[in-house]
């Protein structure tokens, strides 16, 4: 393990990381977002889900620095008297969870199909890639809305509320897989004709094993970049769905839900209810995207 750490500290990746202040800043912001979300139950000043602790009398409190503000609600409260800061911390949890799971789903699904298409070729390749092409002609948010709509129509209301989180993850994940599949297919087409793959074929290693142990590790570089960039997109997609009211259930508000709620009060002067969740979302997505950009440049030897 210490050997792995030493290797990383000696690697080009770490070196280019240290030389990019923007990247370091992004990493710090991303770490704060992730840390805040993970540790929400411990660091949040209030529990926004504990109905007993809510006091409607505390509704619409402005941020603490406003003269009408209250020090125990640093970023103010919403229409229910919930602490906005706590809601953001808990909401970021949901946003990140959905983002990570959707990206992981899209990555695994897309990479598997891309490997199969590229390695096997022929009809398998044609069918998979035409499906990907067709899907890419629709905006991915439309695909996600469609999936969500179909599930809503298919299952009863109470069941839907229970599986809503999974539906959102699936809807966002399925809308993003073609990017992964196409990239991996392209790299696989290159790798499968390289001589180390031929050497494995000569000794009769089964195709699935060759794909998993030879081709996969050599096509993962670009996947890592797309996955990082995609994480930002997935978080945004979730926020969009929740803003439109079709995403996560209202009992588990994400950043998108918070912005939707705040949106109703934006013009009546209670700006903080929407603005602070919005700023958090921007910080989170921007830092992830900047990290993704850096990773893309650092892993591309041509740009160095």
């Amino acid at each position: 393990m210490s050997g792995a750490i030493a290797r990383f500290r000696d690697s080009d990746l770490w070196w280019s990381f240290k030389r990019s202040p923007v990247t370091i800043l992004s990493a710090v912001v991303a770490l704060i977002c992730v840390g805040g979300a993970l540790l929400a139950p411990f660091i949040a000043p209030h529990d926004p889900f504990d109905l007993a602790s809510l006091n409607l009398g505390d509704a619409f409190k402005p941020p603490a620095w406003d003269e009408m503000g209250d020090a125990i609600y640093p970023l103010g409260t919403d229409d229910q008297g919930r602490d906005v800061l706590s809601a953001i911390l808990y909401g970021a949890r949901i946003s990140l969870l959905v983002g990570f799971c959707a990206t992981a789903f899209a990555t695994i699904f897309g990479v598997s199909l891309g490997l199969l298409a590229g390695y096997i070729g022929g009809a398998v390749d044609s069918v998979l890639m035409r499906i990907a092409d067709i899907q890419l002609t629709f905006p991915s948010i439309l695909v996600a809305l469609l999936v969500d709509g179909v599930v809503r129509a298919a299952v009863p209301r109470e069941v839907h509320d229970q599986i809503a989180l999974f539906v959102v993850v699936f809807a966002i994940g399925i809308s993003e897989w073609p990017k992964f599949a196409r990239t991996v297919r392209g790299s696989t087409l290159v790798e499968r004709n390289k001589e180390y793959v031929l050497a494995a074929r000569v000794i009769g290693v089964p195709s699935l094993r060759i794909m998993a142990s030879h081709v996969l590790p050599n096509v993962l570089g670009p996947v890592l970049v797309i996955a990082t960039l995609n994480l930002g997109l997935a978080i945004l997609a979730e926020a969009t769905l929740s803003f439109l009211g079709v995403g996560v259930p209202p009992t588990q508000p994400s950043l998108g839900t918070l912005i939707r709620i705040g949106n109703d009060f934006l013009f009546s002067g209670e700006w903080w209810i929407a603005i602070f969740p919005g700023l958090s979302l921007v910080a989170m997505v921007l830092s992830v995207n900047l990290l993704g950009d850096w990773l893309r440049d650092a892993l591309n030897p041509k740009l160095r």
């Binding site: 390289k194 180390y196 031929l198 050497a199 000569v202 000794i203 290693v205 590790p217």
Partner: protein, 331 residues
């Protein structure tokens, strides 16, 4: 070596590739199918423990033959016989499959960059179950690395830590790890510097002597081929134009193309003779010329050559496919 038993045999091998454009484009421009005749009827035998080399310029089909001989490409028609069995059957059984192995040209592409050298060399050992348990596998890997002139400690490194010549040694160790009897070597030294090429050629000769290996050696370099071969086949546009014992080929080259090839090699001895390079270029294997494929560049071509394709026929110790040689016009 006529008394040695035939070990590997190619019977009238043909391999076509469909290089047509996608069907919609083809219909749009009213174009027929385009068939690339990479290999167009090749037969040879390799006795056990000997080396047959195939030489020719790029696009002559020699690498396609190499890949057919280990089953990486199927045959459009014809058969490969391996130790008396059809190659397809032989490759279906793992105790037969392990007897044939391949060494590749590019030492930078033939080793998986993400694997440690020990795992690369051990892959065939594990695939064929040739050693049981981690320690036995590693002991065998250490033995193989020593055999090709590397240190057993090199097993812990990654391919990028080695030079081209060392990588080719690793490649050879991997090929040897399944105790093969037949090795197909596709331009094994073309990507190497000349001093390293000598190391690898010497190593391959040593291994052949020690392990009784049979080689099919593919190269574009006639001087290299002369050092390693028992017999040599010269290929042009998917066919053998001459097949002869190595010394015979160099002392009495018969086919005009063989002569042109030898003529084209830069002369290190600096005898000051002026060479007359053969004109023209290799035609496309999609639309090969009628008759003898070499006739557009051949100084001896006549009407028959333009019309009728010559067969590979015996002329003393040599097999040669040339009307001029068979008619005694070659001089």
């Amino acid at each position: 070596m006529p008394d040695a038993a035939v070990f590997v045999e190619a019977q009238d091998l043909v391999r076509h590739f469909d290089v047509s454009r996608p069907i919609l484009q083809r219909l749009a421009v009213r174009e027929g199918k385009r068939i690339l005749r990479a290999v167009d009827g090749i037969s040879f035998t390799i006795p056990k423990g000997t080396t047959l080399s195939l030489v020719g310029e790029s696009g002559c089909g020699k690498s396609t033959v190499a890949r057919m001989m280990v089953g990486l490409y199927g045959t459009t028609s014809g058969h490969v016989l391996f130790d008396g069995r059809d190659l397809k059957q032989a490759r279906a059984a793992s105790d037969q499959r392990r007897r044939l192995q391949m060494i590749f040209q590019d030492p930078y592409a033939s080793l998986n960059p993400r694997w440690r050298v020990a795992d690369i060399v051990a892959e065939p050992i594990r695939a064929f179950g040739l050693a049981q348990g981690r320690d036995a596998v590693l002991a065998r890997v250490a033995e193989l690395l020593t055999q090709v002139g590397l240190s057993p400690l090199d097993g812990q490194k990654f391919p990028h830590e080695f030079s081209g010549g060392q990588r080719q040694r690793i490649s050879i160790a991997r090929a040897l790890s399944s105790n093969p009897e037949f090795l197909v070597c596709d331009e094994p030294t073309s990507a190497l510097d000349v001093s390293v090429q000598a190391q690898i050629l010497n190593l391959m000769k040593d291994l052949q002597r020690r392990l009784g290996l049979t080689y099919l050696f593919i190269s574009h370099n006639l001087a290299v081929v002369r050092q390693v071969s028992d017999r040599i086949g010269v290929m042009y546009l998917g066919r053998l134009v001459e097949l002869a014992p190595a010394e015979t080929l160099f002392t009495i080259p018969r086919h005009p193309y063989t002569r042109a090839l030898m003529e084209a090699i830069p002369d290190l001895e600096m005898t000051g003779r002026t060479r007359i390079p053969v004109g023209g270029e290799v035609p496309s294997p999609i639309t090969p010329p009628p008759g003898c494929a070499f006739h557009p560049r051949c100084p001896l071509a006549n009407d028959r050559c333009r019309r009728e394709r010559p067969e590979l026929l015996a002329a003393e110790a040599t097999m040669v496919a040339c009307h001029a040689v068979q008619e005694g016009r070659a001089g």
